[in-house]
């Protein structure tokens, strides 16, 4: 327990923790600022009038549109628009709509670009994104904390104090996971507060009913587990490689190059559902609860493809298996290998 507390303090006292903490908070604040600036609850009267003037101007400069509005038989008489008459949607529209749609008239809305941030629709995606970024940061922090201790020689020193290696590893992993959980939760709560405020002031909150809460909390919970897994993976890789750069290199290398290679090779091989070889597919399945892959090849000319469903359980087993595998490897290596 003492060792665990000391490890927590060691993590907290690292300068990198401070830097990453500031970066994470700055990121959330920056996201909020962007939403704050781009979102609005709709145009005010001045903007509306100005846009209307612009639209009128445009329509004036476009004689076809004026002609269309004035002439009820515009489409039937004009051979150039015969194609429009044959369009399946044509019959259901009023004449004005037809002019706007086929000839191209402008209304005030076309000249006003308003975006309304809807917390109900977009909030949970943003929170998940924030949690994933926080998790990546924690993965780097965990691997750098352990890697730096190996390469600085601090690990051997610690082992002279604590010969029970599994206790050392447990304390370090536990401290990294605890800090990860706290950091991700903190960042998500901060993001929730700021984004909710932004939506309330500059956009619309929407209806956050029981269904919304359930879906959001479920996804966020799984994302939280994902970040814990990433942290454990980062720590394990650093334990195996005994250097931050090795752990970071392996992770970045896989995520960027490895995944690309996997995709290229699977594309050139005649396999069904090549996406299933990409880690991202499984991560998406884990977070969203289910993902469907379509296979257009097998069905030939038919329009209904074969479907492969990956559920969160499948994805959890695979991703969890990867984390457990590397964790076990790291444990085994730490138990057996000489400390330099």
């Amino acid at each position: 327990m003492n060792l665990f507390k000391a490890e927590l303090r060691r993590l907290a006292r690292r300068r990198l923790s401070l830097v990453f903490g500031i970066l994470a908070v700055a990121g959330v604040v920056g996201l909020t600022a962007i939403m704050w600036a781009t979102s609005s609850q709709g145009p005010d009267e001045g903007q509306l009038a100005e846009a209307q003037a612009q639209a009128d101007q445009w329509n004036e400069d476009n004689p076809d549109y004026g002609d269309c509005l004035e002439d009820e038989g515009f489409f039937e008489e004009n051979a150039n628009y015969a194609w429009a008459v044959e369009d399946s949607a044509y019959a259901d529209m009023s004449h004005e709509e037809r002019c706007e749609f086929y000839v191209g008239g402008m209304t005030a809305e076309d000249f006003i670009y308003t975006y309304t941030f809807s917390f109900e629709n977009e909030g949970s995606y943003m929170l998940i994104g924030v949690a994933i970024v926080a998790g990546l940061i924690m993965m780097m922090l965990a691997s750098s904390a352990i890697g730096a201790e190996w390469s600085s020689g601090g690990m051997s020193n610690l082992m002279v104090w604590h010969p029970h290696r599994m206790k050392v590893w447990g304390a370090k992993l536990g401290a990294a996971l605890a800090v990860c959980a706290a950091a991700v939760a903190g960042v998500v709560v901060l993001a929730f507060g700021l984004l909710y405020l932004t939506a309330a002031v500059r956009g619309e909150v929407g209806d956050l009913d029981g269904v919304w809460w359930e879906a959001t909390l479920e996804r966020l919970g799984r994302t939280g587990l994902l970040t814990l897994g990433m942290t454990a993976l980062g720590a394990s890789l650093a334990m195996l490689g005994r250097h931050t750069a090795i752990a970071g290199g392996v992770i970045a290398g896989y995520l960027i190059i490895g995944d690309m290679l996997v995709q290229i090779t699977s594309m050139s091989l005649p396999v069904d559902y090549p996406e299933r070889f990409s880690l991202y597919t499984w991560v998406m399945a884990w977070i969203s609860g289910k993902i469907e892959l379509y296979n257009w090849n097998s069905s030939g000319m038919e329009m209904t493809p074969d479907v492969m469903v990956i559920t969160a359980t499948d994805a959890g087993l695979l991703l969890g298996g990867i984390v457990v595998l590397f964790g076990a490897l790291a444990t085994w290596a730490f138990q057996r290998r000489d400390a330099a």
Binding site: L3, A148, P163
Partner: protein, 343 residues
């Protein structure tokens, strides 16, 4: 009282790519008695650090038994580690933490009271630098910090790998006083590995000399030196021309004596006693102007025992002892012919 540290038949083999495996420890034996400062000596690469690492459970060994406080290690190390303070190899710390924080984290992790941190900082003379980050420490300051962390838990056994490394003369003096005080008035057993032979001679009560992963000799420092000081005599004459005559006179009187001319003096070994030399020479009509008994110091004993005495025009490579005398079972009683060691 049983020995604090007992090592027998310790082996450690490093496998090397494309080369013969290397026996860093080749059946090493060692015993350290309680309440002493014990020196651990050997040429570079002879396995001192490897032994200490093995003792502290940092590396796995390929054979042999080790006991500390009578407990088998590394298996029972967790039970005894609270009584052991150690520094292995050049001390390394996380660079961005201050000296004080480094010690505090260790103290906290093992449940040592915080107040000890200030005490040991004071003890090793790092009080003023305690706030600075370790990356700004000099070699000697790091060494002091390492010793401070070893002292932190008030150990009954202190294991220091080259503690004098990087220390200034005042620091060495201070360290010597500290270690002797710990051993002689606090009853702490201290094991120091060192290259500074004069230092070992002044600091240690007993010692073990190793070479190529084997014990060559152990015992009380004074005994070892005495056992190997087949004291030689340096004789000078008013006139250097009488040197060849003197050699003849001496070897003629005692055939198993060696008398070697060294510039303007004569080095005599194997003579019964100085008075005999004076008399023999006087009988031959040669009068001497100076006669000095040269007792050997640890350095020549060490060079002789480990076979690393410099040979003119050649460098001795690491691990290339000229010849390793067979380890004598349990003691000092080795008789090594000491030729060409003087100078």
């Amino acid at each position: 009282m049983p020995p604090i540290i007992e090592i027998s038949g310790l082996r450690k083999t490093y496998s090397r790519a494309f080369r013969q495996p290397h026996n860093a420890l080749d059946g090493l034996d060692m015993e350290v008695a309680a309440g002493q400062v014990h020196g651990f000596l050997g040429p570079n690469g002879s396995g001192k650090t490897t032994t200490l690492r093995a003792l502290l459970g940092l590396i796995r060994v390929d054979g042999g038994d080790m006991r500390i406080f009578g407990e088998e290690v590394p298996r029972r190390l967790p039970q005894v580690v609270s009584r052991i303070g150690a520094v292995v190899e050049s001390p390394q710390f996380f660079k961005h933490f201050s000296g004080r924080l480094t010690l505090q984290l260790l103290a906290e992790s093992a449940g040592v009271p915080r107040s000890r941190v200030e005490e040991v900082l004071e003890q090793v003379g790092l009080k003023d630098a305690a706030k600075a980050a370790v990356k700004g420490y000099s070699l000697g300051m790091r060494q002091r910090l390492a010793v401070a962390q070893a002292l932190l838990k008030q150990p009954q056994l202190l294991i220091l790998d080259e503690p004098a490394n990087g220390l200034d003369p005042a620091g060495i003096h201070h360290m010597r006083e500290l270690l002797q005080w710990l051993a002689h008035s606090q009853g702490v057993t201290v094991v120091v590995s060192s290259h500074l032979l004069s230092e070992v001679q002044q600091l240690c009560d007993s010692m073990t000399i190793v070479s190529r992963g084997r014990r060559i000799v152990d015992g009380k420092v004074a005994d070892i030196i005495a056992g190997h000081s087949s004291a030689s005599l340096s004789v000078r004459f008013p006139d250097a021309a009488s040197l060849p005559e003197a050699v003849e006179a001496l070897t003629g009187a005692a055939p198993d004596l060696t008398a070697a001319v060294d510039r303007d003096r004569l080095v005599v070994t194997g003579a019964p006693e100085p008075a005999w030399v004076t008399k023999t020479l006087a009988d031959a009509g040669i009068y001497l102007s100076e006669l000095v008994t040269e007792t050997k110091n640890l350095e020549s004993v060490f060079l002789e025992l480990t076979g690393t005495a410099p040979v003119p025009g050649r460098t001795v490579q690491i691990g290339q002892s000229v010849e390793v005398p067979q380890a004598a079972p349990g003691g000092v009683a080795i008789d090594v012919q000491a030729e060409g060691v003087e100078r």
